[in-house]
């Protein structure tokens, strides 16, 4: 891969992610019901519906602005743990992208690393805690091998949360009983990375 990514690319990523969230909302809620409070699907659906509306309302002109706007929407509309965390992920990534009209794959990779770092800082979690970081961190690490590799890593990371005992978020209240369930946030993170890969495939041919 060696693409140049414009605002349109990021807009499509967000819309693809919104579609994926709509499609998978019930599953996310179901996962959250097992070890959380059964709202993760509804939360992200509400958030990405707002993202979609905002992007349609006044499409920003730079990649960074698209992600910052999307992140702000999530912060203002989602609530819960995932609202500030995903909001911070996108805002942090967007800010790191700067205000150029186009960015490279490599720049996106670096920015995502910053975004994910901001999530880790805000939430105080580390990989292995059974959170969204378990999908995000391996995805960013795999990004050097392409978007498809990142998607695979995120999906694997999400699945690998099953045997983990949660140490952060609501699932940590369950102690041992959190073992054996896939983390909803890691699952939605895999959807976001999957949407990125899908966008890259559609827009740039992968």
């Amino acid at each position: 891969m060696r693409h140049v990514l414009d605002a349109e690319f990021f807009r499509r990523w967000m819309l693809t992610a919104a579609a994926a969230v709509d499609r998978e909302a019930d599953r996310l809620t179901e996962l959250d019901s097992a070890i959380g409070d059964a709202d993760h699907g509804a939360n992200l659906k509400r958030g990405f519906t707002a993202v979609r509306a905002a992007l349609e309302d006044a499409p920003p002109e730079t990649p960074g602005a698209v992600l910052v706007l999307a992140g702000r929407q999530l912060i203002s509309k989602v609530g819960g743990a995932s609202g500030p965390l995903y909001g911070t992920l996108l805002r942090g990534t967007g800010k790191a992208l700067g205000d150029g009209a186009e960015v490279t794959d490599a720049a996106l990779g670096a920015a995502l690393e910053e975004g994910v770092g901001a999530v880790a800082k805000l939430g105080g979690a580390a990989p292995g805690d059974k959170t969204m970081l378990d999908a995000l961190v391996p995805a960013v690490a795999a990004l050097g091998d392409g978007y498809a590799a990142a998607r695979g890593a995120a999906e694997k990371g999400a699945e690998d949360t099953i045997p983990l005992r949660a140490r952060k978020g609501r699932a940590s209240y369950l102690g041992e009983r959190s073992i054996g369930h896939q983390d909803p946030g890691a699952t939605s993170s895999a959807l976001l990375v999957g949407a990125l890969a899908e966008t890259a495939e559609a827009v740039t041919g992968g």
Partner: protein, 330 residues
């Protein structure tokens, strides 16, 4: 799905409209989901703001009024509200003496209230925060998100509210709130799971004849499942769990709380057992409150919260309060 609703998406705003109609003492901003004392900002008074996911009624909106909260932010069901609501609430109640955020210790609530505090401070509002974390079912360690905030929230809101009403400065109100948090512990038991409107089926599967010990107020399962127990046994287990963490040296405030679908007649019967269990363990009870105060939608079950109360806390507990959910002396 046995719910008295229109569609899941409008449950929160519908309830806020109904609340507005029932309580002329409150200003309800349905669009932004903020409930405010009609006379806010109250001159020379520290403002008290709380909020959290909906589904715990009357917490928090039902505790807005004289002697308790100045404003409450209602999130979606079991979802912390967003920072915009909290800064709006802070702005509505700040009378120049600062605002205290009362935050239940959940990742979502903490993150959103933190962001809101930053924003409010940017707007020149002095903000202090107190984190309520009283649920002994969660071990407070590096391996968890920390104890959950449950029933003690009511004690904090009432006692800090009384102090604010008396004109105490922000640092004092905050210190009192913190003292209540440190003096309070809770434990909850579920006889049934609850059903969120969005999911439409019980959040966990609890067969008849079993119960969950150590549940929270968000439909999450507890730490342990056991065969059904009597009210006597549940009181013993709950009191022991609380006393393992809180060794009161003096009299306590006791909240015997229903989770939403447990009838009052059962709660009163449970209270009799809680009082017995406390007496047997040498704990004297200064005040008891029995009812559905910090609920979990239509969950059947109960929780107890004890707060070691010195004379100051007792006096502030007894001070007049006038809210939809708690009212005396006014």
């Amino acid at each position: 799905m046995r719910m008295l609703i229109n569609v899941p998406e409008t449950v929160v705003p519908d309830a806020l409209r109904g609340m507005a109609a029932a309580h002329p003492d409150l200003t309800v901003d349905v669009e932004n989901r903020v409930v405010v004392r009609r006379d806010a900002p109250v001159t020379d008074k520290v403002g008290l703001v709380s909020g959290g996911g909906s589904g715990h009624e009357p917490l928090h909106g039902g505790f807005v009024g004289r002697g308790m909260l100045d404003a409450a932010c209602a999130g979606e069901i079991f979802t912390s509200p967003v920072p915009d609501q909290m800064t709006r609430a802070a702005a509505a109640v700040d009378a120049g003496r600062g605002v205290l955020f009362i935050v239940k210790n959940y990742t979502g609530d903490v993150l959103n209230f933190d962001m809101a505090a930053d924003l409010a401070q940017d707007e020149g509002i002095q903000v202090a925060k107190v984190l309520v974390d009283d649920d002994v079912a969660v071990t407070d360690s590096l391996y968890t998100a920390g104890r959950r905030g449950v029933g003690a929230t009511l004690f904090v809101e009432k006692i800090a509210g009384a102090a604010a009403e008396e004109g105490a400065p922000l640092e004092r109100v905050e210190a009192l709130a913190r003292k209540v948090v440190e003096s309070s512990r809770s434990f909850g038991v579920a006889l049934s799971a609850c059903t969120t409107p969005a999911k439409g089926s019980p959040t966990f599967d609890l067969p008849d004849g079993e119960l969950e010990l150590g549940i929270g107020i968000h439909g999450e399962p507890g730490r342990e499942r056991r065969p059904m127990m009597t009210s006597h046994e549940i009181a013993d287990v709950s009191v022991d769990a609380v006393l393992e963490d809180l060794r009161p040296s003096g009299p306590v405030l006791a909240l015997v709380n229903g989770m939403g679908a447990t009838p009052l007649i059962e709660l009163y019967g449970f209270n009799a057992e809680v009082q017995r269990a406390l007496t047997e363990r040498g704990v004297s009870v200064a005040r008891t409150l029995v009812g559905n105060y910090v609920t979990s939608l239509d969950m059947a079950g109960c929780s107890i919260t004890l707060c070691q109360a010195d004379e100051e806390l007792l006096r502030l507990w007894d001070a007049p309060v006038r809210t939809p959910g708690l009212r005396w002396g006014l």
